[in-house]
Amino acid sequence: MTSALYIESMKNHQQPKESTIEQKRQRLTGRNVVIVAVILAVSLGIGSAPSSNSNQLDTRSLLWAVVATIGILAFMVTMVVDYSKADERQRHIQLQATAVAFIVVIMGLFAAEMAHALFNVNMAVATQVLFIGGIVIWSFARMLLERRNRV
């Protein structure tokens, strides 16, 4: 009797199931994120800061540039596919996160340019930091906005 009541109460307290369309979207995005992560890991393995001492383009730098470009393109494709599969509220959230990240990156670029002019800061490093920072801020903003509605 007790176990039957327990099972009944467990049935009532099941985790809310996601809709089929959302499950498909999450699966697709998850698969794409793994692919992007592997490509970017390979690009980091080759080296994240190719030598800029010589004017000659060496094979390693070229390989790094090609793999990093493929990784970023794959990341862009992942974002576009995720956006196209999202419903209207999720698209709204993604656009809000994009607006936040855009403002931060634009202000960061301005600050980096000023720092470069005044203190001769390395712009190559600054743009890399801004690029990664922009992605992190976009992801964080999106996560925060999503959490506001998560039940």
Binding site: K17, E18, S19, T20, D87, R89, Q90, E146, N149
Partner: protein, 76 residues
């Protein structure tokens, strides 16, 4: 905007995920609409109205009308 989506959904015996499947949206979106944290677009509102065979204005009410109604009910 207020709505009677939870009542309509429960009347049909559907879970939020079932309704989300019918509307081709995520369950989180259904939840956000039901708890008045997200106002659906006009196409989605029409889809909801079609699904429950109800006029849109029966399902969704502007806050100003909802508060006016409650004031009238309060006076009665």
């Amino acid at each position: 905007m207020k709505n009677i989506l939870p009542e309509l959904r429960l009347k049909h015996g559907w879970s939020q995920a079932d309704l989300a499947n019918e509307l081709a949206v995520s369950r989180q979106t259904v939840n956000a609409i039901e708890t008045n944290r997200y106002d659906p677009s006009l196409p989605l509102a029409f889809k909801i109205a079609q699904l429950f065979a109800c006029p849109i204005e029966e399902i969704f009410t502007a806050d100003v009308y909802a508060s006016a109604d409650s004031e009238v009910i309060g006076k009665i």
